[in-house]
Symmetry: C2
Subunit: 188 residues, 2 copies
C-alpha cells in the first residue's frame, strides 16, 4: 500500500537542465550565470525560457537591457565551473577569466557562445513575466550550434559523447544509460 | 581547437523532465498525458508550466476547461507506461485502465494523483500563452505529495530511492551518480 505524505507547495520537478547563460551589453564584458529554471516551451517556432532572480544578479540587468542571451549546455567535465558560475557575481568577478572558459562570437546576438559547451542556443527575448522571486525571459531561438565532436554520423547529438548531467533537487547528477527512444512502447 | 557547426533553430535543451500529467472534468474519466515541455519558472510563489499541443490532445481540452492539472513524476520502473501515455489518445483509451496506474484523490484539484509516481504537484492554471505549436499552461503549485518510501530521514527526497530519469533529445535516459550538491565549488 502506497502512502502519500502531504508537503508544503514547492517545485520538486526533476531532472531540470543546468546551463550556463551568457549575456552582454556593448560596453561591458560578457558575463556567465548558471540557470536551472529553464525549459522548452514551444517547438514551432522554437521557444525556450530562463527564470532569473532580479536582485544580486549581474546578468539580470544585461539580459533585461540587451534582450538577448545564449544558453550553453555543459558536459559533466564542466560541472565545477557550472556550480562556481552560480555562486559568484559578475559584478565582482570576470567569470570567463576565472573559469578559463572561452568566448566565441555568436551569429545573431552580441552575447558569446561558450566554446567548451557542446550545444549553444542563441536567444532573443520576446516576453518577460515578473512572477515573484524570478523574472521569466521567454525567448525565440535564433540559431543553434553544435561542437563537431559530439555529433553522430547523421549530424545528430550523441548523448554518450556529450556526457550531459542535470539538476535534481539540490544535486547535480550524471545522465547515464539510455532506457528507450521516444515511441518505443509502440514498437513492441 | 573546438569547431562549431551552425544548425537550424530548434530546442536542443536537455535533460528535461518526463512527467505524467493528469487532468479531468467533473463528467469525464481522468486522463493521463506525457509531457516533457515542463519546468520550474518561479520559486516564491512556486510556479511551474506545461506546454501542450492543442490538436489531437484529449488532455488539452480537459486542462483548458478545468484550469487544473497534476504533475506526477515517474521512476524508471514506469518508463514503458510513460512512453505509452504519450503515444495513445485519451479519447480512445482509458489510460489508467490500460497502464494499471492507480488514481488517488488530490487535496486541492479534481484531477487525481498517480499513486505509483513518488512525487505529485497539484497545479492551478494562472495564465495560458499560445505560442504556436504549443499552448503553455503556467500554474501555481497548490500542494505537493511524496510517497513515504522515497524520503530520507529528514523528509527530503532521496534520488537514489526514486531512480528518476529524463528526456535528452529523443531518448529517455537514467539519472545516475551524484556529482555534487549545489554550492560545492565554494566548499573547497
Amino acid at each position: 500500500m502506497i502512502k502519500k505524505i502531504a508537503k508544503e507547495p514547492s517545485t520538486p520537478l526533476f531532472p531540470v537542465p543546468t546551463v550556463l547563460v551568457t549575456s552582454c551589453l556593448k560596453e561591458s564584458n560578457p558575463n556567465i550565470v548558471t540557470i536551472a529554471w529553464t525549459g522548452i516551451m514551444n517547438s514551432v517556432p522554437p521557444i525556450v525560457y530562463i527564470g532569473l532572480r532580479p536582485e544580486g544578479r549581474y546578468s539580470y540587468r544585461l539580459i533585461k537591457d540587451s534582450g538577448e542571451y545564449v544558453i550553453n549546455i555543459p558536459t559533466v567535465a564542466l560541472a565545477w565551473q557550472v556550480d562556481y558560475c552560480g555562486m559568484v557575481s559578475g559584478s565582482k568577478v570576470n567569470k570567463f577569466k576565472e573559469t578559463g572558459l572561452t568566448p566565441v562570437p555568436a551569429s545573431h546576438v552580441k552575447a558569446p557562445l561558450i566554446a567548451e559547451c557542446p550545444v549553444n542556443l542563441e536567444c532573443k527575448v520576446r516576453q518577460v513575466l515578473a512572477l515573484g522571486s524570478h523574472d521569466v525571459f521567454i525567448a525565440d531561438v535564433l540559431a543553434v550550434h553544435y561542437n563537431d565532436d559530439v555529433q553522430d554520423e547523421k549530424g545528430r547529438l550523441d548523448m554518450d559523447k556529450i556526457r550531459p548531467y542535470g539538476y535534481c533537487g539540490n544535486e547535480y547528477r550524471l545522465i547515464a544509460d539510455k532506457i528507450g527512444t521516444y515511441g518505443y512502447s509502440k514498437k513492441g
